[in-house]
Amino acid sequence: MQFKAMILDNAEVSPGYWRMRMTAPAEMLEAKPGQFVMVRVNPSIDPLIRRPFGVFDVGTLQPAFTGAAPQPYLEILYRVVGKGTGMLSTLHANDILDILGPLGTGFENGPAGEEKLIVGGGVGLAPLYLLAKELVKDSPVRLFAGGRTKDDVLCITEFERLGVECYTATEDGSLGECGLVTKVLEQRLDATGNKGQIFACGPHGMLKAVAGIGAKRSVKTQVSLEGYMACGMGACLGCVCQGTEHSAENPDYRCVCTEGPVFEAAELKWEGN
């Protein structure tokens, strides 16, 4: 779906991290956790290519006391890293964006009742909030959120409000455990005897470590990957990653934008990607 969204709110939630709420058609409410949108930052040619962002949240505004109709909305959580995200952060309420989405294949929820371990690094938390919202409906959910410093650990209160038990770790020890979040994840898996399944999103190094933990402990692990995307719909073949069986002779490239961004970690080749 392609639509024009009107920005409702755009605020810095932690230094360098912004949360933007915008209007969306009602179809957007069907977005699956892990799906993403491609945002055209402005109508000029700079930046030219759309920028992909996970769906952080969707919902419907119920205007109180006014006769106005309910307004479905979409939220993204983004980190300012370059030109496009920099420009996004200068936009105001009432500005208009052109959006494609929801795109891609999201997370599979897994069986009800089973423990769900969500692992997020930095802005990798973005697509995990909508996931947690889904999972808490029928399962106990634990969040393992990591970052370099406390400024990189986002929206924990929101997760807690869902009833998610939150664990945090920072590399500089400014919040939660000092070190990598994967350590905290392993402690939990040790404690439960490798129960449940893992859902992860974050920097590539973290995903690789999580994939390794999942493989070693035979815990089903889904990861949400990034890739440099031009189209978001399987046409440009820019975003591909390598499946387990990939070799030069037997190519097994997967489109991150359509087959992913969420993959079973076990399907992917972790050296090449």
Binding site: Y228, A230, G234, A235, L237, P251
Partner: protein, 304 residues
């Protein structure tokens, strides 16, 4: 008054001059949710080879000022999977599909041309000659007139369908290339493919693309493409298809004034998946507003 929008490329009749460019529109199906395929003139499928090809490692794409570089490495499903998995969709759409293809020897080109000739759903063939000739030590077919002519002649002998040759802009004299391809039997020329470029990641001190260099496309290259279309259209009798940085109806009409009979929209479909359809509609509206009865009257109508 509704302006007449149809144009002909060889024996192919298009309802309007707007096609989508190879490699930027998948096999058509990917965009069917965003574009009414029956509102565009034709679509060109991703470049095909005899065997499936893995393509290059990633990163394969990077944005540059007003453009992008791609080094997909011609990843494609190969002709067999194309016939099995992609042709059925082509059958379902009432819009000509043009198959873009490439090889590494003139024989490979000819074999592909003859196999594509046999597929009724393929309305025309577009030969991509921007590939290295493995027999001649890697010289790119599309940068040497003799080399290019040999490929075109081989394909010509293998197909009766409309044969479009897609020229590389990375040459000193595009007119010489165009004339060599015309003489060797091309029914039409697509001008241009991407310009070779490079991007560097300063902090990592590495090329951004795993392949080091890639093909530059997008609005940045439009002035170069327009110049080449103008040069080629003056020098050949066959129709020219203008390609390069077309983002709007205005851009497309400019290419027609420069001499193009039709245009292809590439990178623009990434920026706006509905681009090709919107451009076709915009062109028609432009003509209607100015009471131009037939779009053909614009072809090469640049005043000096």
């Amino acid at each position: 008054m509704k302006p007449a929008m149809s144009v002909e490329i060889g024996s192919l009749k298009l309802r309007n001059p707007v096609m989508t460019a190879s490699g930027t529109f998948g096999y058509g199906e990917e965009f069917s949710q965003y574009v009414d395929l029956e509102k565009i003139g034709a679509f060109v499928t991703k470049g095909l080879s005899l065997k499936p090809r893995a393509g290059n490692p990633t990163p394969r794409i990077v944005e540059t000022p007003g453009g992008m570089l791609n080094a997909i490495g011609l990843q494609n499903v190969g002709i067999d999977a194309f016939i099995q998995k992609k042709v059925p969709f082509l059958r379902s759409v009432n819009t000509p599909a043009i198959a873009n293809f490439f090889g590494y020897t003139p024989d490979e080109y000819a074999e592909l041309a003859s196999r594509l000739d046999a597929i009724p759903e393929v309305a025309a063939l577009e030969v991509n000659i921007s590939c290295p000739n493995v027999k001649q030590g890697g010289i790119v077919f599309g940068t040497d007139p003799n080399c290019a002519a040999s490929v075109v002649a081989a394909c010509r002998a293998a197909t009766k369908k409309t044969l479009i040759v897609k020229l590389s802009p990375n040459v000193t004299d595009i007119v010489e290339m165009a004339q060599a391809c015309e003489a060797a039997g091309a029914d039409a020329l697509s001008v241009i493919n991407t310009l070779t470029g490079m991007a560097i990641d300063l902090e990592r001190r590495r090329p951004v693309l795993a392949n080091i260099t890639g093909g530059l496309s997008g609005p940045a290259i439009k002035p170069i493409a327009l110049r080449m279309v103008w040069q080629v259209a003056k020098a050949v009798k066959v129709p020219v298809i203008g390609i390069g940085g077309i983002m709007s109806a205005t851009d497309a009409l400019e290419f027609m004034l420069a001499g193009a009979t039709a245009v292809q929209v590439g990178t623009a479909s990434f920026v706006n998946p509905a681009a090709a359809q919107e451009i076709a509609e915009g062109m028609e509206a432009w003509l209607a507003e100015r009471n131009v009865a037939d779009i053909k009257s614009l072809i090469g109508a640049l005043e000096g």
